[in-house]
């Protein structure tokens, strides 16, 4: 009886709600210039990742006559140790870096949130089993594991890399979500939901999840930064098969083959990927402020 009624009400609301949500989101983002800049940076890099390989199809051109050429009209960011265009490497390399980090973060958010919600809501045996599994994941030293795995796995596909990063990264999210769930499940609205006999899936998805969504959303964005650092670090260490169109490999080549720490000529090659990583981090941090307010009505009311 209740369900059709709710469904009908919901069906009537969507256009207004969507419009309201978009308006609220736009208002929240536009309220502070930093948020606009953050969003702009994220959109810029997202477009770079999507369109980059189409802008520069084919292999990198090698030109041994213009090794470490300074920035020019032909090479906006100069050239690398092989005379290849640094801008092209940055643009083409963005897809792997961002796709890997995004997929890893998504994997972490989905698995961590799912495990935390189920464990926190059900408690008992499910909680014990899931939390022991979480403890096990938390004890795995992720980065050393990646180095070991890289001896048997080529990580040629972003999905492979993100799977490993995500598999070792969801423990912290699961723990935090479980804590919040344990707290929420004692609140009145959840007791009412249970009293009404609503199915568990409905309670978890419709009642609990929206309440922890702000935390999950922020965690997702923050973990993007962490995963970029992890994958770039792995390539920087030079322990996985590489192509030169990868930000971590660029850092590795600049330091270990180009002598960027000993010679100013290779400095541009070193700085290009570093600045990109810094910009991405800045974009995420600035935009996080907007996400926080979007998901937190009290913040909206205060402002």
């Amino acid at each position: 009886m209740t369900a059709p009624t709710l469904g009908a009400a919901t069906a009537a609301v969507p256009p207004r709600r969507r419009s309201t949500s978009w308006t609220a989101a736009r208002r929240v983002v536009l309220r502070k210039p930093g948020r606009v800049i953050g969003l702009g940076i994220l959109v810029f890099f997202a477009l770079m990742a999507i369109l980059g390989p189409y802008l520069y199809p084919g292999q990198l051109a090698v030109d041994p006559e213009s090794i470490y050429a300074p920035p020019s009209g032909a090479h906006w960011l100069g050239t690398d140790f092989a005379g290849s265009d640094v801008l092209q490497e940055i643009v083409v390399g963005a897809r792997y870096v961002l796709l890997t980090a995004s997929l890893s973060a998504l994997f972490t958010a989905v698995v961590g949130t799912g495990v935390g919600l189920v464990a926190g809501y059900h408690r008992g045996l499910a909680d014990s089993v899931l939390m022991r599994a979480t403890d096990f994941i938390l004890t795995i030293p992720a980065f050393p594991l990646l180095i070991v795995l890289s001896t048997v796995w080529s990580f040629a596909n972003p999905l492979e890399m993100s799977l490993v990063l995500g598999l070792t990264g969801w423990g912290g999210v699961a723990r935090a979500v479980r804590s919040q769930t344990l707290s929420l499940r004692e609140r009145g609205f959840l007791e009412a939901a249970r009293g009404l006999g609503l199915p568990t899936r409905h309670i978890i998805v419709k009642e609990l999840l929206p309440n922890i969504a702000p935390y999950v959303a922020m965690q997702l964005l923050l973990s993007v930064i962490g995963f970029i650092g992890a994958e770039v670090g792995l390539f920087f260490l030079g322990v996985v098969p590489f192509s030169s169109s990868n930000w971590g490999v660029m850092l590795n080549q600049a330091v270990f083959a180009g002598g960027a720490m000993n010679s100013p000529e290779a400095l541009g090659y070193l700085l290009a990927p570093l600045v990109c990583i810094l910009l991405l981090t800045l974009g995420v941090v600035l935009f996080l402020d907007a996400v926080d307010e979007l998901f937190n009505p009290r913040l909206r009311e205060r402002s």
């Binding site: 292999q59 140790f81 092989a82 005379g83 322990v239 590489f242 270990f256 010679s263």
Partner: protein, 605 residues
Amino acid sequence: MKRLTQLSAPVAALALLGALSACSSGSRTASGGGVYTTIDAKNPITAGAPMNPFNASGTAFIGYNTMQLGFDKKNALDPNDFFPGLAKSWTSTPTALTVELQPDAKWSDGSPVTADDIKTSMAVALTQGKAASGTALLTQGLDVAAVKSTGPHTVEIDQVAGAHNIGFTRLVLTQFIVPTKVYGSLLPADIWDTIAASQSQDPADADAAKAAVDKLNAAGQKISAFAPKSDVSAGPFVLTRVNPGSAVLDKNKYFYGAAKIAPKQVVVRHYTGNEQIWGYMTNGELDSAPYTSIPSNVLTQIQRAGYQRVDTVSYVDAAIAFNESVAPYDNRAVRQALAHVIDRQTVTKVGEPVGGTASPATTGLIQSAAKQLLTPEQLAALDPYTHDLAKATSLLEGAGFRKSGGKWMLPDGKPWTITLQTVNGFSDWIAASTVIANELSSFGIPTKPAVTADFATYQKEMADGKYPVGWWLTALGPDPSAAYQRLYGTSDGYTAVGAKVSHASGKDSGNWVNTPTSYTVDGTALDPGALTAKLSTMAPADQKPIVQQLARATNQELPMIQIWDYTNVQFTSPKHFTNFPRQGQDALLVNPPGVWMMQGYVQAK
């Protein structure tokens, strides 16, 4: 080259040859001769590693605290031209070598170096055939049958009956000499009986010979792992302290030529890669540096820091090697096609711009040696495998490969991808790999470079056959026998004791090249391993016909693709010391600075 980072590939090559061009440098002056700071080309400092020259990571430095009877001058015209070491002089006969030891040679504990020490050292060397990575080349053909004391300071070292190894003198003189009091107890009491049994060429004794070889190998492993409590050196320095970042060697007051040794102390710095060595030099911290792969931009900074560049010939070539037990690299047309795709000029300009010259053709020799050993007509007849994509396409299509969607497919229709193996820290190999991967990928063979953690692991895994395609150092010389042993020696499953040549393949055989045992060249069948073994028994003047056959065969079959010949670029700093060897003094410069010092070079300012 790093990764090691580690070592540079050339450095490692020179290490393999036992002809390191290690360097030293001077730094803050202590009273007397001061402190000479350098790095060792053979390996970085490994904290906790034993002070044992037979250990792959041992803290032992040739020319400083590790001595030989002599030090090779790398004279292409006379393979037995040496600087004296613990041997004051020597005379060779076709069957033996008689050595007169330095009359004042003493160990750092004050006891004399005796004939018994030489005997022990030869026995230890004979246990090292497979015990330590990288030593196989040194002991190949070391057919020592007996060591006898023939006078107070003279020792006779006999060659196995029937053996006529032209490199016998060189091999004996370049073995590490260690004290009996430290290493003698590690050898089985019947070691010389075991050695004799292992050298038997009688087919009836084959099982006994194999058992003897196994026994020697077991002893060799024990010796490789041995950690002496303290360093007992007969060299100009003795190891006194090892830190994670450096090894400290003090002057050995008992060294027979101590008066010529200026530095009071030598500090050998640790490094994790080439870039760290560059940093030492741009900061002016080293008194000299051995060959290290350097990009042009860093070279400028090093010279600005006051270093003087000294170039000498390097009998080393960087090559791309194949494991022919893995398809499709067992197909000659495939190897030839890849040679046509790789633009060696471009790869060299990027990978080794300072110390490399693109190889004109693959012969198994560096170009300067090829010019000496082949006639102009033979040189002209070699296939240079120029950068020619049309020819590569034709070769692959002829071998049944087809292109689909811009990518080459194997004859069975499966995609063809290449992982080009290189070594962490070998910056030149890594940079060159990037270019080669780019060229091959552009041609339609998706290629990615992969790095191995360090050179010791690389050599081991290479020997285990784990890499279908990877970098390798070839053309080691100046003796062409050594150069071809790199191709058709132990790494190709060939071993030779005396006149007996045997071939093995499969697991644990050490054969990772896996060339056929017979090539047909100009209508004539030849066995490259047998010819290579034969080379080691011939005088230089008689080697040419066989070298010419092997060069022609290698050029046709391409078991490896030579990419560039190295130039041995070293650096010296006049800041703290003077009288370094100069350009043109190649015989000195191919040896480590400890040998320079023994000859009276490197004096305090």
